[in-house]
Assembly symmetry: C2
């Protein structure tokens, strides 16, 4: 790979040869209902806990993605996934019986972009087949980050709804599918936001930085893309991203921009305040709707930038800021 | 890189051109006291919380490692670190002001090996300079995984003591230092151990699998090494590793094997039961004592295999097993 600015380009672009996005009941009632590979109305997946339900959903997405790619798990060099749960147990229990070498990754809600970036780079290093993935689950996230569900606390308008869902993509050295032309590992950006009910504001500065830098590094303008897709900024974060890009970087992406957190729900009807969030948000939308349209060439070129808020309940209770990060992937139809 | 079995070999081995291991007061009172780059008697590092103290220690190790390597942080392509804290905040807050692209990784106590493996592979893909690292802190770990310190609960003999420490290594495409000749990403191995006070038993099966597979893939026997070094199996896990390797793999590594968890403390005098643990255990020992001896050619060839227990307090309370993983790095003096 070759570096220009902070972006890495591939002479032989790694190819996403299969992907799958699966979601829970609420997400299946949103505008993308017919796009997902599976909608699980029973969001506990028949498991004993929400945490295991999340793992089961991620495992399902991984298995579907490899089946769609026509590859066997035994041929996969590395699987790399991550999630929001303490010690990444969503991932650890999802992959523990798959018998594939496991690279655990953490990028909060940016994880799908992070695992795709790392997969593409490991393919460039000589691996043949990598699997990237990420997951989140509304109930396991609520248990961990916020109040017990039974408490029924009110949410401010800036709050987002954690998506119950998972996505997985199979990245290969060659084959038919969608090219990963460039990757961009984000740099932590911390403007001092401390409100854990306003993740959009915490993540927007990192998104603006990565989008702007990738446009510069690739010598492109927003009109060169069919879509500039962020992960889960939601309504509030999207507004801030547009403002920051105009003000600090003199760029306007509004006509090309969409956000997985805005796409996955009918915001008002589904009562999700500022939109969807969680690693599973961008993972499920990218690995179904977006990659499918790139495969059919309905979309030709997409910049996918997923953002993460690098906090924990402990860091928030200790009054710390919420550092943001945004990783980017440049996707092109073959 | 080229694959043989499950191990990846480099035509041009990436080089560790600098490293640093730093620890807290108790670790500075152990047998390796004169080996570390810094011993912090004040283990809160002047910070407001144990979590921030851990971050400060990791940041210190990273900065020292780059200084020893003679490189500027501005020249680093990627920094990849991980830790045991929820949502990896130890790492996130350590690197947040360094202004370097950040790859968050999670491998529990195997993290130092995982970040070294990934660094070496990204160098092989075309990056020039990567920084790998990991940390743990006794007090932040106790807060999260076990009882409040004030509770003063008794520990069983199989329990281990979380190391307060951090390590970091700078990996370069070329230069003087220690060669990374091969890397091995581990596969999760779960024999159903559920006792969170016996991590050695949970991790030993993964260690045996990785050590055996690496010996096979490299066509070597234990006598070809100056040291086969595991991360933090402690006394109990070490005994089990030797047994498993003899019984299941017909291999005897006893005369060449050591374990960072056994090296870092005087087990009996320092009242640490089965030995040291935590990401900072293998990170601080490898990045000081071991890499220094490889640099001076006192050691010529070391197989470093760090193990991780992929559990969370939630998964343990829910009665789940503790899946283990072990990542390996083959190190050679230049």
């Amino acid at each position: 790979m070759n570096k220009k600015g902070k972006t890495y380009f591939f002479d032989s672009p790694p190819v996403i040869i299969g992907s799958a996005g699966v979601v829970g009941k609420k997400e299946g009632e949103g505008p993308l209902r017919s796009e997902f590979d599976a909608v699980f109305d029973n969001t506990d997946m028949g498991e004993d806990s929400y945490e295991l339900a999340e793992s089961a959903m991620l495992k399902d997405a991984i298995v579907r993605a490899t089946q769609k790619a026509g590859v066997s798990l035994g041929d996969v060099d590395f699987i790399m996934t991550g999630d929001l749960l303490d010690q990444c147990v969503g991932s650890c229990f999802a992959i523990k019986d798959l018998n594939v070498p496991f690279v655990g990754m953490y990028g909060a809600c940016s994880t799908m972009a992070l695992t795709l970036c790392n997969s593409a780079m490991l393919i460039d290093a000589g691996a043949s087949l990598c699997v990237a993935g990420a997951s989140s689950h509304f109930a396991s996230s609520e248990r961990q980050f916020r109040y017990p569900l039974e408490y029924g606390s009110q949410r401010p308008p800036t709050a987002q709804w954690t998506v119950t869902g998972a996505g997985s993509a199979v990245v290969s050295r060659d084959g038919n599918g969608v090219n990963i032309c460039a990757v961009h590992i984000g740099t932590v950006t911390d403007l001092g936001i401390k409100d854990a009910n306003n993740m959009g504001a915490a993540m927007a500065p990192a998104a603006a930085r990565t989008v702007s830098q990738m446009l510069d590094d690739t010598d492109t303008c927003p009109d060169d893309y069919d879509m500039i897709l962020t992960g889960d900024l939601g309504y509030t974060g999207t507004e801030l991203l547009h403002q920051l890009l105009r003000k600090d970087y003199n760029k306007n992406i509004k006509s090309k921009h969409n956000d997985c957190g805005l796409m996955i729900y009918n915001l008002k009807e589904q009562d999700v305040n500022s939109g969807g969030s969680g690693c599973g948000c961008s993972a499920s939308v990218l690995c179904s709707y977006v990659l499918e349209r790139l495969r059919t060439r309905e979309l030709k070129r997409v910049m996918f930038v997923a953002t993460g808020a690098l906090m924990s309940p402990t860091s928030s209770k200790q009054g710390r800021s919420i550092p943001g990060i945004a990783h980017g992937v440049l996707l092109e139809a073959k």
